[in-house]
Symmetry: none
Subunit: 225 residues, 2 copies
DNA sequence: GAGATATGTTCACATAACTTTCACAAGGAA
DNA sequence: TTCCTTGTGAAAGTTATGTGAACATATCTC
């Protein structure tokens, strides 16, 4: 997977540095903007920005304003940083097309998890139907076919398979799977993944072998093509 | 591998000198700070600090405080020095993002080993695919290919080969291998390395010869290219 | 809102895979 | 040769994963 470019907009440089650090560590490329105007300039200059993290409270042009302007031209995912949850409630009243709200102070780890989840979603919607090694995944219909036959998968099973198919050939640790397929607020047993993998494999028949176990590490989807 | 810069923070100058000595000998560049404020100044002045060793008990600003401040802006690895293990337990209750705890008195040798292990971890994610002399190592897929054919390696075997390939042409003592490939809390027989080397060699076929024995010393990976 | 149904999670145990140790063989150094 | 290090195969020990069932939670139906 290529490195996605993320634009961080905040007037406080410390906050920008913090986010930059964490996101860079998580393998994203980060651009920083110190105010709304700069943010708009950077966004319209660089067509490859995959996601924007936007502080609400900024001098001159606030996050709300920046968001409205961008939304006139683009559906790029936007995460809003708000200082109080009351701000958040207020904003949610308007339909600004904001993908997530994160209230300060937040755990950077959590933010990264949300960023990954959103990007996954927005990447997913690019190709609605994918077919690999006899497995056809129709995201719009939320339906999977194996050798042309429809297979009944539960919601989680579908999402798990989707994540596997989006990351073919890549070794995925349980932690990573949890972060991307489960909600960020799930803190249960990672072994639940094993159970889901078991069900997935059995529902997939002989294609179940595509889900390889990487002992001591996690799982990997590999259709061998 | 370039010399990594390490910041040692302790109010006792004897302790700083001791650490400085050992780390310098192990080929690190060392900066010293005598208190928390100085530490913060040095850290934010010098963007190249790769790791911080931090004493908990210090006058004015304690290690706990320093850590929290740094964590607001940076994910640099931090090793905490604690006087009693009770302190350690207490600290672990908070999620400060500390990478390691070392309880005084400690063996400097052990500390150096931990430093190396942590730095290796944080460096590891640089090049995802490496190929040398017909051996292709795909870290993302956690898979090794020899002459294009996939080879099944266990977790430890993979890590061992990874370490060898990251240190091509360098003679590696068993001690060093243990410190870097095994966990620091492994105190078993170093001969387990021999067994793993044997398995690796046999799984690598004629490429097994790349792992040379350095009699009386250890091993070396050398693809002769 | 109660009961039924489907889905998701946890648990305990079986199984499989891996790691370490051991004992002895083989090989290099003095 | 003699001492010490390394190679090797197999046994013993350890840990991770597979699996079925119980339990919990959410969803649907009436």
């Amino acid at each position: 997977m290529e490195r996605s470019k993320i634009l961080v907009v905040d007037d406080e440089s410390r906050m920008r540095k913090l986010l930059n650090d964490f996101l860079t560590r998580s393998n994203f490329t980060v651009l920083e903007a110190g105010d709304g105007e700069e943010a708009l300039d950077m966004f319209f200059d660089d067509k490859e920005i995959a996601l924007i993290i936007l502080d609400v409270m900024m001098p001159k042009m606030d996050g709300y304003e920046v968001c409205r302007t961008i939304r006139k031209y683009s559906q790029v995912p936007i995460i809003m940083l708000t200082a109080k949850s009351s701000e958040r409630d207020e904003l949610q009243g308007f339909d600004l097309g904001i993908d997530e709200y994160v209230t300060k102070p937040f755990s950077p780890k959590l933010l990264v998890a949300r960023v990954e989840a959103i990007l996954r979603r927005s990447r997913a919607s690019q190709a609605d139907v994918v077919e690999v090694g006899g497995i056809r995944m129709d995201r719009a219909a939320h339906q999977v076919y194996i050798d042309g036959e429809p297979v009944e998968l539960s919601y989680k099973e579908f999402e798990l398979l989707e994540y596997f198919m989006d990351n073919q050939g890549i070794a995925l640790s349980r932690e990573k799977i949890l972060n991307n397929v489960w909600n960020y607020d799930y803190f249960g047993d990672a072994r639940t993944i094993d159970t889901h993998v078991k069900k997935l494999r059995s529902k997939m028949g002989d294609k179940g072998e595509y889900i390889k176990t990487i002992w001591g590490m996690g799982y990997k989807f590999d259709a061998g093509v």
